[in-house]
């Protein structure tokens, strides 16, 4: 009996001990997601350390969020988690020169009762240099994940706002548990955007106002300096605007000027010439005509990572009248020139990087491949995404290439990065690894097989998830010869009930199904792209809603009421 009691006591002790140890563990990591080790070794991979460098078979060792070494004879510590890199191609993580990722526009300040549109307060007029992108940024935004998925590891985020929106910041797209902030106040974000219905309302007013703000910041600095050294002077007026502009006037930080067209580029450069600030041009879309002007200005260049849409080109018909054909030819010429622009920038010897502001992440690699197919070298393409961006953002000492001591930002792909079928398998940011599903290479479909092999025509009930809640509706697909057409119903964003839209670009390739439709929300037409896999009457995929991000989309095919013949 006593023995039994003793046994019981020991058991209790053991259990208690076990319990207490789990309690202690739970206190340090309630999520249970803590990494076992922050040391990684990616072994025997093909490593491209910097743009223009040939791939070498090597192991990359990572610890403390830093690259500890690249080579074949590294001694790997015991705690290193090994990743077999034999079939992986490793590249430096991409850097996004300027982005709107994860940014939510702050609420417009309320207009005071005595509001005068000819002389509004700076805040209402869109002059808010004191604002910081950090305050508007959330790493949990689904667009952050979308951007990381295509290889971006560092972004310069820009605040949303008017002509002087505020200060940019540079962040890592790293683990949610880290702060991820690299540089605060990395630049001043400006544009030619006027404030509707008040001063300054147009680009011409914005330019005048920008000069005025700049000149008065200078004068305020002069007054303040004198005020601190001489007694008995009138107190200089310090405003949030002038205080926040001081770093720009002192040349400590650059102005990131959004300038998409040639004329806007010239206008930004004329302001720079006039006032003498450091300039980074961002969001460039049309620039071929002004390459020499850009070069002479010495401004940093961030090209919009996008190619023009080909709707107009595709709409051209062979049986058009001669007059129309002439016009078509001019549009085509203009389109081809637009695709070749990035290559011209490289040829002019202007080191440039990219901005993803206003760009859909899912289209980025296609845009890169198109630019490369139209004259941009792969070396310059990679440089634009890594080393050039690092130089323009002045973080080239810590990022941009795979070198000992640099931040562990890596892309691991299944093939040479810009190859057509290359897929990104892992992205490492700040020493944290993010895994992505890769699909086996599709085999070329044989005649009769592939297209149409999977049944998709019929009515599908679908559900979708988005930050706005879950939605549902009916997707109806009809076969039309060898193509598909159809409609989709969705929850009407501008009220209750369902709205219906035709679906377009329905493509069935093997079991991969994709289509698009347009949603009209508050007068704004948003294109929704859905893509995923069909498997015996069920569909699993993602829906990309314009630039707002991508969300899960699932559907089930209803049994047909018509008997199979």
């Amino acid at each position: 009996m006593k023995k039994n009691l003793l046994h019981a006591g020991v058991f209790c002790l053991l259990v208690a001990g076990w319990l207490s140890s789990t309690v202690a563990f739970a206190q340090s990591d309630p999520s249970g997601k803590k990494r076992i080790s922050d040391t990684y070794a990616i072994t025997n991979a093909t490593v491209f350390t910097a743009p223009g460098q040939a791939g070498i078979k090597a192991t990359v060792l990572i610890k403390d969020g830093l690259i500890q070494g690249v080579g074949t004879n590294l001694s790997l510590p015991k705690e290193a988690k090994l990743i077999a890199g034999d079939s992986l191609y490793i590249y430096p993580g991409f850097i996004d020169g300027a982005s709107d990722v994860g940014i939510t526009k702050p609420k417009d300040p309320e207009k005071p009762d005595n509001f005068v549109s000819s002389n509004p307060s700076d805040e209402i007029a869109g002059i808010t240099p004191w604002r910081s992108a950090v305050d508007q940024y959330s790493s949990k935004d689904s667009k952050v994940e979308d951007l990381r998925k295509v290889g971006f590891t560092i972004v310069q985020i820009m605040p949303d706002g008017g002509m002087i929106a505020g200060k940019a910041a540079i962040v890592l797209l790293g683990s949610d548990n880290s702060t991820n902030l690299l540089v605060e106040n990395s630049g001043l974000v400006a544009s030619f955007r006027g404030s509707r219905g008040m001063y300054p309302g147009t680009a011409v007013g914005v330019m005048a106002k920008f000069r005025e703000v700049y000149d008065n910041t200078k004068l305020t600095t002069q007054r303040s300096q004198k005020y601190t050294t001489v007694a008995g002077l009138k107190r200089p007026e310090i405003t949030p605007t002038y205080s926040a502009m001081e770093d720009v006037v002192a040349g400590k930080i650059p102005v990131l000027f959004s300038a998409s067209s040639e004329l806007e580029i010239r206008r930004a450069i004329s302001l720079q010439k006039d006032k003498g600030f450091k300039l980074i041009l961002t969001g460039l879309e049309e620039y071929e005509e002004v390459l020499d002007v850009i070069k002479a200005s010495g401004a940093g260049v961030l090209v919009k990572l996008e190619i023009p849409d080909d709707k107009a080109i595709k709409a051209q018909k062979d049986d058009a009248k001669d007059e129309v054909k002439e016009l078509n030819a001019r549009v085509k010429e203009s389109y081809d020139k637009a695709l070749a622009q990035a290559g011209k920038l490289e040829a002019a010897g202007i080191p440039f990087a990219f901005t993803t502001a206003g760009v859909k992440s899912g289209d980025i690699m296609k845009a890169m491949r198109t630019m490369i197919a139209n004259g941009l070298s792969e070396k310059a393409a990679l440089a634009a995404l890594t080393t050039n961006a690092a130089t323009i953002l002045e973080i080239n000492k810590i990022a941009g290439s795979i070198e000992k001591g640099k931040i562990a930002n890596l892309i691991m792909s299944t093939d040479s990065l810009f190859a057509e079928d290359s897929q990104i398998k892992h992205v490492m940011v700040d020493g944290f690894i993010f895994d992505y599903e890769t699909k086996a290479k599709k085999k070329a479909s044989k005649e009769g097989e592939g297209k149409g092999a999977v049944k998709i025509d019929g009515n599908w009930d679908y559900t979708s998830e988005s930050p706005a809640g879950s939605g549902s509706g009916v997707l109806s697909i009809q076969k039309d010869g060898s193509n598909y057409t159809g409609t989709i119903t969705y929850d009407d964003p501008s009220g209750s009930g369902k709205a219906t839209a035709p679906i377009s670009n329905v493509v069935l390739d093997g079991s991969a199904l994709s289509f698009s439709f347009e949603v009209n929300a508050n007068g704004m037409a948003i294109t929704v792209d859905v893509a995923g896999q069909v498997d015996a009457g069920s569909f699993e995929g993602t829906m990309t809603v314009g630039e707002f991000g991508s969300f899960p989309f699932e559907g089930t095919l209803n049994p047909t009421l018509i008997a199979n013949k």
Partner: protein, 461 residues
Amino acid sequence: MKKVNYFLAALLGLSIQFASAQVKKGSVLIKNATVLTVTNGTLENSDVLVQDGIIKKVGQNLSAPSGVQTIDATGKYVMPGIIDAHSHLGLDVVNEASSPIVAEVRMKDVVNPYSIGIYRALAGGVTISHAMHGSANVIGGQNATLKHRYGSTDPAEIIMQDAPRTIKFALGENPTRVHGRGNGIQPRTRMGVEAVLRNGFNEAIQYKKAWGEYTTASSQKNSTALPPVHNERLQVLSDIIDGKIIIHCHSYRADEIYMLINVARDFGITKLVFQHTNEGFKVAPEIAEYTMGASVFADWWAYKMEVYYSTAYNAAILTANGAITSINSDDAELIRHLYHEAAKTQRYGGMTDDQALSMITINPAKQLGIADKVGSIEEGKQADLVIFEGHPLSSYTVPQMTFVDGVKYFDIKEDANDQRLRVSATEMVEPIMIFEGHDSRCMQDTESLFETTEALFNLNH
């Protein structure tokens, strides 16, 4: 070492040349034409020799220096390039309508050399246009004088850099509608317009004084003077008072015209031109005595209340009373046949050929402050020329060739179907408006300021 220096010098020299050679200048000899000099009468069977963009010689039996192209203009007419003193062509933005005074904005900032309207103007013989700010403000922005060097993509190359500064003013219904009725601020009436003007100029005088005092004080030893706040708006108004800028004022009624004359006299301002000036004929002697004249429509009126009391004899009456008078377009369509508009003064008022032609050449040149450079065919002037088939004041005339600085920018025989400099890569059809109705440009971008007023009173002009 010497070689290297020589090489560097050559390189620098080249690059300087490259920078200044941006504006093209041409040489040409036009033979056997009827030359309408405008300032020195009509010369039959005469030649005009242009070298490096300048009219070198006007006379008979001139021969072309080697390398200079000769154009046989037998039976044709040559006149100075037409000058439009009121236009909004080639501007990306017309109105910064948000404040009663926006003197600080510069239309030169938003010149768009790709504008197809520039080519169309050339096809109508117009070589210079005055790209003006709109008429939504009592004191609008500073204008740009453009030379129609179509094909240049650098705005600086189509701006006439040696033209003096000009600025837009506006009286009457437009500024009172936008600010007073639309936004509930001064000016709501013509009295308010005058108050805005006088207050503006008085503030500018104070502003200039404050900076003058600061500059004097800060040059003293151990000065503790603090610089005043910079205000470009008041600086520009101060420049107007100092005679550095020519005012071009949108106006219709005689009372408001006379009001501005009095304001200008009170502040010692003499560089003043009235635009539109439909009731100018009522105050023609005053305009002649105190201003640089009026730039009017030939026969366009009744598009709003303040423009009902008008006459096609306006230009003739102004001219007869000694006011410098020009005929303008204010419109992308009218600009293509200003020679017809000028001819109307012969039907209504019996103007002579030279008087009528002056209204679209030397007179607008005087009003823009460029009459020493352009506006007539005289030796030493810039070679802006048009060759016409038929007399330019005939209804049947057709412009054949247009030259700016001796460079041919329009030739009816080489007029391709599509003259656009740039084509969108993503749009099959780009909307291009020719006629948009009066005020569509003058009042562009002002809609947001009086949406409610518009809805309440159904005001379209």
